[in-house]
């Protein structure tokens, strides 16, 4: 497997767990929706997997260093970098400090920008791009990193329809390449399109294939009063006030 997590607990403040009892395995070629409300532990789980937060209990095994794509709303818009500069950051981890970036890395960064449809914007200042374009640039950086596991924090939140379509198509390509994608989302409907879903609300509620895991009872436990279940029996919409 590419990701194996067993009885993981952790959090930000000493003695206070933001997330408890998370256990799941993800295999190559799977997109896992990490589903939950704001404050439910989605970002905490990703930060635990990144090693940003200590594992108070439990174990985490990852196939190599993961790539991380943060929420675009949290990106630094004032930073003096171009889209190409940001994509090139994906090569920093494999380049010793005393070496210049290789020509192949520059070519990989340009190819990654082309793959997300932003070849023409390579020289544009990152902060001047739209939210959807910035999200695609951050995805291009992850492509340059060439990691077997990608952790994506609400990559489809607040992006325009054209960017969302490109991003979802890219997810499918990456899945077919045998990578594992963990995608934090608060959209239960979106999660149904992917191979696995992990429901969190400060603890693990369920994990499995969407058709089995996303029952009304699980969604109710995940979202509590923020859930609206439509009467057709198949569609659930999480209603959430989203703040950044």
């Amino acid at each position: 497997m590419s990701v194996s997590v067993h009885e993981l607990s952790g959090g930000y403040r000493a003695g206070v767990d933001a997330l408890t009892g998370v256990t799941f395995e993800a295999h190559p070629g799977e997109v896992v929706a990490v589903l939950g409300p704001n404050g439910g532990g989605k970002s905490t789980l990703l930060r635990e997997l990144l090693g940003e937060l200590p594992h108070r209990r439990g174990t985490v095994e990852l196939a190599g260093r993961p790539a991380y794509v943060p929420q675009t709303e949290r990106a630094r818009l004032d930073f003096p970098v171009s889209a190409l500069d940001v994509a090139l950051m994906g090569a920093y981890g494999r380049t010793p400090w005393f070496r210049r970036l290789a020509r192949a890395d520059r070519a990989a960064a340009r190819a990654a920008l082309a793959r997300v449809g932003l070849e023409a914007e390579a020289g544009e200042r990152f902060g001047a791009l739209s939210g959807g374009q910035r999200q695609r640039v951050l995805l291009a950086r992850a492509l340059v990193q060439d990691a077997p596991v990608l952790l994506l924090d609400e990559p489809l939140s607040g992006v325009d329809a054209s960017s969302a379509a490109r991003i979802e198509a890219l997810f499918e390509e990456l899945r077919e390449e045998g990578r594992v994608l963990l995608v934090a989302t608060h959209d239960a409907h979106q999660a149904r399109a992917w191979q696995r879903v992990l429901c969190l609300n400060r603890a693990q509620i369920a994990y499995g294939a969407p058709a089995e895991a996303l029952t009304p009872a699980v969604l109710q436990a995940t979202y509590g009063g923020e859930l609206v279940v439509l009467a057709d029996g198949t569609t659930e919409i999480a209603v959430e006030h989203h703040e950044h």
Binding site: E52, R65, F79, P80, S82, M89, G93, T95
Partner: protein, 259 residues
């Protein structure tokens, strides 16, 4: 102006400091550590005063003062009930007050002004050599860790996955800020040195759109402020450190008007 050996020595000092402090300021601003820069330079005053009282090189006093100030700032900043900024403000005010109290004690030599505002024209050979060594070390270190500094400032949550844990590199930047502060304190003083760190960098970041250009422009503006400040001091008979600080402060104002 250059025929005067005292001014020539001051010019060498300020040029070397500018080469390091200009780019250092860009990183300080990109990491949002301007308050730390000001705090550290003010908080090291007791070290400078003790060095002056003991008759040892000021740069040694600045180093000791910076270490104590950094420790006090780190400890005070951890107090969650006070909040980081309040804790740092209390620690720095305490250290600054302690330094002033030592400096105006009856037995103290009358050098408080020099310690607060620097003495570019009275810099000793030992202080110049120490400042040059430290400043060049800071400039070289900044060039060497350019990539992790960029990653940890641009995207702290992702920096670890890209091989540059943000906390580690932010700490490295603060350490370099401490060294740069120590290098500049004897010449520019505890109060004024922060102008050469922050002002040219703020102007450069306003004018340029790419990081390498911002780093180069900040160094150039800091050099211009140093040369312009010394010329102003020489021809208008003004305090050298204050003239350099005023010229540096003019850079972001002009940048704002021009852009």
């Amino acid at each position: 102006m250059l025929s005067d050996p005292i001014t020539r020595r001051a010019l060498i000092e300020v040029l070397i400091l500018a080469l390091a402090l200009g780019p250092l300021g860009v990183w300080v601003l990109l990491h949002r550590q301007a308050y730390a820069a000001e705090s550290l330079s003010h908080g090291l005053l007791p070290g400078l005063v003790l060095a002056a009282l003991a008759g040892i090189p000021l740069v040694l006093g600045a180093a000791g003062g910076a270490l104590v100030a950094a420790g006090a700032i780190a400890l005070a900043g951890r107090d969650e009930r006070l909040g980081g900024d309040v804790g740092v403000a209390v620690a720095v005010s305490t250290l600054f007050g302690l330094g002033a109290m030592l400096a105006i004690a009856p037995d103290a030599p009358p050098r408080l002004e020099e310690l607060l505002f620097g003495d570019l024209l009275g810099i000793s050979g030992a202080d110049l050599a120490a400042a040059a060594g430290l400043a060049l070390a800071v400039a070289a270190a900044l060039a060497a860790i350019h990539r992790p500094l960029a990653l940890s400032a641009f995207d702290p949550p992702a920096a670890r996955s890209l091989g540059a844990p943000a906390g580690r590199w932010q700490a490295a930047l603060l350490a370099l800020l401490g060294v740069g502060t120590v290098a500049a304190a004897p010449g520019l003083g505890s109060l004024l040195l922060v102008a050469l760190v922050i002002a040219p960098a703020a102007a450069a970041l306003r004018i340029t759109r790419r990081l390498p250009a911002a780093l180069a422009l900040a160094a150039a503006l800091a050099i211009a402020a140093g040369v312009g400040g010394l010329a102003l001091s020489y021809y208008a008979d003004l305090a050298a450190g204050a003239s350099v600080a005023l010229c540096a402060a003019a850079a972001p104002i002009l940048a704002r008007v021009a852009t």
